[in-house]
Symmetry: D2
Subunit: 215 residues, 4 copies
Amino acid sequence: MDYGLTGATGKMGREIVNVFRDHSLVLAINSKGEELHGTPRVVVDFSSRAALDRTLAVCARHGAALVVGTTALHDDDFAKLRRYGEVAPVVQSYNFATGVSILKIILREYAPLFGDWDLEIVETHHNKKKDAPSGTAILLRDATGRDCPTHSLRMGGVPGDHAVLFGNDGEVVTFAHRAIARNVFAIGALRAALFTLTAAPGFYTFEDVLKNSRS
Amino acid sequence: MDYGLTGATGKMGREIVNVFRDHSLVLAINSKGEELHGTPRVVVDFSSRAALDRTLAVCARHGAALVVGTTALHDDDFAKLRRYGEVAPVVQSYNFATGVSILKIILREYAPLFGDWDLEIVETHHNKKKDAPSGTAILLRDATGRDCPTHSLRMGGVPGDHAVLFGNDGEVVTFAHRAIARNVFAIGALRAALFTLTAAPGFYTFEDVLKNSRS
Amino acid sequence: MDYGLTGATGKMGREIVNVFRDHSLVLAINSKGEELHGTPRVVVDFSSRAALDRTLAVCARHGAALVVGTTALHDDDFAKLRRYGEVAPVVQSYNFATGVSILKIILREYAPLFGDWDLEIVETHHNKKKDAPSGTAILLRDATGRDCPTHSLRMGGVPGDHAVLFGNDGEVVTFAHRAIARNVFAIGALRAALFTLTAAPGFYTFEDVLKNSRS
Amino acid sequence: MDYGLTGATGKMGREIVNVFRDHSLVLAINSKGEELHGTPRVVVDFSSRAALDRTLAVCARHGAALVVGTTALHDDDFAKLRRYGEVAPVVQSYNFATGVSILKIILREYAPLFGDWDLEIVETHHNKKKDAPSGTAILLRDATGRDCPTHSLRMGGVPGDHAVLFGNDGEVVTFAHRAIARNVFAIGALRAALFTLTAAPGFYTFEDVLKNSRS
């Protein structure tokens, strides 16, 4: 797969280059310009909101699909993405960790079966993390459709653990996710990029990617 | 709820009586006969295959629904249960642990999303347990649709833990179940009994109970 | 071993009778009197402070050792126990769970090695438990000699889990204890009772029992 | 602390440079020669057995202490290290993970208290690891003084988890270690290097370092 990348030299960009190592980086976009070695079929952008217009312009020029993991997008950004989705596949998500997304889907669908069970969430992250509970803990809690006690541990260099626990008198069921390293999101981006190769034009979430790559 | 019970004095029977304590045991069936104090709306049988004919006869006499957790049933037993399902709700399962059944459903549906992840199962039971891996471990493994390494720990008095682990380069996702006590199955039987109060006649599995009590 | 028991018909008393089933209950003491069938070598009392005087009198009459797990003792109770320790072995503790006691010893000795690691404690108990954090969590925290965040989960029927976690940039070390059932304390009482059979007269803690039964 | 490093450009060398970032690398030793910018108080060598003679010669020239994590040393290597230990502190170990070493000490001392409990070990590593069980699992098992079932999971990119579980009828006690990243060993090397600054000349293991840095 020939792909393009916005912000290739940043921390997340380097992770993407590493995870995409079996594919060809033919277009590197940064704030100063573009370096082109071929025609990208998909462009990946995990940089920042400020870069989005340029990224979209480059995609349009090459007819490339887009995978965008930039956070804090505005409503008009989404409007632009949906509009480009009319001509090519666009995958947008704030969380490209495959496991987290699958757990989110499962909890949304199955948490009601645990309606009368106790529910608590425990998350552990490195001690440099400032917010608590983590965004992912909130996302998983929202997926259960209930409010619940949420415990935040801050321990050394832990990349990120989450456990959603349901308990009744006789059983405890746990759904747990552990990030091994920061490359989790790059692995999800690769999955999304491969998905765009065969997808029809459209605006997709990462969940759509997961659901469609099941069969 | 007025209920009947086959084998009320056995170990499982006593668990059921305890868990059903907010309901009225109006009919106790054992190998010697029946003790009747009212009209049961549902009969629960976790005793043995040998008792099934009598249990079915009693159900028919009262027009009662049936919840049956007896193991090692034969084909003709199933035929009888299905036939009685034409006149009243019948719930049959080899495993009435709610959490295990929900995990089974989830794994059957979502394990394909983890198609290229490593998969291993770990189960822990008390050191009196002779078979390994446990029936539940096999059931969960079957639900994933894949074969995988399955580790059996035998530790003291542990009632039964199961963990299904999926791992890739960047993430580990764990689905875990822990039985706190032997009353797990009685709790599931209560759920099934309550389900029969409003269900149409039919032959149901415990999964049907779970799916229908969701809404 | 021929043993006596104060409060044999209470909940804890019945657990003790069950766990001591390979030994002979020759003396049952309750608020109304004593039932005697032999000469006890050790008397076990997990009943209440109010029973202590009678228990001590009975011990003195038979020259029996004493294992006492009664909580909320007063200073003068301790004085009486120490005085009786001059003539027979007395084991007193507020916590007869072997594993908890061993972890307490280990943490007291080794927590200083984790001096610059993050430290957090997580405990999970059934949802009927009113106090948080649990007494055992406090006991383990005290053993570390540090204060730390302590998270209390209240989930269904969980008998009692405790985890003490130390984390630095590269590692997490966890010391965990899980009570499988309420009989934990009875098992510890048995260990203490067996210890008294060969111990010199004296006042002992449960830690002394553990340390001396190692060799 | 001014320190020297053998094999600074290798994978482990780069980890050490990163973890020692608050200290000054004043001497870099590699197969071609030495680059000197000051007088090292301690030299760190995690390279290979072949480099040991040169490393020792450099240490002697500067009167520097030595921290050596090179594996597969021969008896005469140990003889040389002990001899140099007569003039300066030498710390040698095959495993500089602090948590593993502490658990090893604890298990050696306290496993006898769990003499009649069931014992099993579970370890999880990335799926590229060829040997099973892991060297660390064997080391921990040896520390317990018992043989036991040892389960090896190979899952995605897991750096290395170990759990030593003791269970009896009423309790499970778990001693667990999780490596977050490969820098674990470099962190231990830093601890050892700091230890040498105040230690008397002598041949030390990593356990000696841990025990002496407690007070």
